[in-house]
Symmetry: C2
Subunit: 316 residues, 2 copies
Amino acid sequence: MNIDMKRVIELLNGAEDVLILTHKNPDGDTLGCGVALCRVLRALGKRANVINGDVVPKRYNYLFENLEPQDFEPEYIVAVDVADNKLLGKLDELYGDKVDLCIDHHGTNVGYAKELYLCADDGAAALTLFRIFKEMGVEITPDVATALYTGLSTDTGCFRYSNASSECYRVGAELIDLGADNANINALMFETKPMEYFNLLSETLSGMRTFCDGKVIALKVTNEMFARTGATPDQCDAIAAMSRQVEGALCGITMKEKPQGGFKFSLRTHEPLDAAKICSAFGGGGHMRAAGCDADAGTEEDVLSKMIALIETELK
Amino acid sequence: MNIDMKRVIELLNGAEDVLILTHKNPDGDTLGCGVALCRVLRALGKRANVINGDVVPKRYNYLFENLEPQDFEPEYIVAVDVADNKLLGKLDELYGDKVDLCIDHHGTNVGYAKELYLCADDGAAALTLFRIFKEMGVEITPDVATALYTGLSTDTGCFRYSNASSECYRVGAELIDLGADNANINALMFETKPMEYFNLLSETLSGMRTFCDGKVIALKVTNEMFARTGATPDQCDAIAAMSRQVEGALCGITMKEKPQGGFKFSLRTHEPLDAAKICSAFGGGGHMRAAGCDADAGTEEDVLSKMIALIETELK
């Protein structure tokens, strides 16, 4: 059920002993929102924890400073930036059908939560949450501002992509004034990458393939490459983002082998290609310019061929 | 002579037949400011042209749409984002000692112009110029907003660096609302690189070496690599910038072979290493975080060894 701002505030004000869920393969937006909401609820005198089904990469550690887990039995469950209960990963079995409230910005949200507050035009769930906090009248402390800025910046590619509306910029300005150290956050999120990432990048780029007269770029990252370079699967995100940067490319496809085998496809597109539409044909989803799907129906090369055929049709 | 806002507006309102100069090896800020000022002056019924001593790279073409040169004898000369008359390049001999007004944000401005309006805290000269336009009360049309947004975004690394103040974000928001297509501008400025660049990047990264326990990274780009990948030497700038992004590295050294042979070294550093100081020991110079030198004294490997020895001393 899609609810309005008044209702979401009523729910958050009424909730006690809140468990906040974030999506697997976590990014700055889901973690930033989870941490921000957890801190705000605690400041309101409630008990709250934020958890993730995966191991959270170390570079996000700064978000969790002075946020020790609290000991309580969850009474109310909130998911932030989680479009589908399947994206809860290991938490899905435990909580997937028990989510009381979901706050999200994915137009593809499947509506698994009892109540859903969805702002599909927002460039980041952090923007949605910021608006809620403002309406609630809660104090946005420097560590809440830091968490929200992290979500806003990471989901908009540091205010670079088409989802970075002027409202994103204005909220970014306000969060900086409230204490978010934008230069350091962005240095951590965008400027520093482990040596292993660069080794993986080098190997991946050396295997770059082009299709549709250069309009489609395909990159493949295998478990063998992860093992050889020591890079971790989450470092693939930056490679996927890069796939769209090749001059003339309207679609970058990054095929990442999953630890258990099989491949996950990440798409990044420029106009007129709709990444979510293309991925939905393969059981996935996401946003217009960034989406993904699992490719378990056949070999990754079979799925790639079918996807390229679909893109060719779309481009006509 | 350092002047105030009132005086700069008086000067611009009083000027006729204005020639606007931008700095050599042009970037988005100098060109964006030049174009924005030229358009505003023309809208005020004046004749105005904007010129550069170098060939302006094609990716900036969108700034110059519908801005045909006008035919007149310059009566008033303005330089934008030009800290030193030497940075006028080929235009220095003609105009270096005739600049009536300089609008700039470089604290290092040498004061070559008759009158100087300097805002050294501004992340971009485009921010300075935006404030002038607001105070003048001129209309900021979509193409002026586009030019100013280009300057603001490129000089702050798309709102990423420490010079991106909350005011930069607020002005960015206003320029978007006034018609700057931020997504397309940023795609052109940051997101699009030729296929050859990625091929060169892959080859270069595969030869990455580390020294001083990973605190120093060295990359080498040879003429053979340029020839094999089809990449051009100016594409090395992005590779040099990347050399500092390796986790744990305090100094990235990029050795680029010159067309005529011999190598140019580009350094990028983090605290506490001073790139300009290191390069000055080899006859070069630059800024604290980015500097360069020619390495003609010996083979590039000899120079690299000496430089690493110097850095080791600096790190002690």
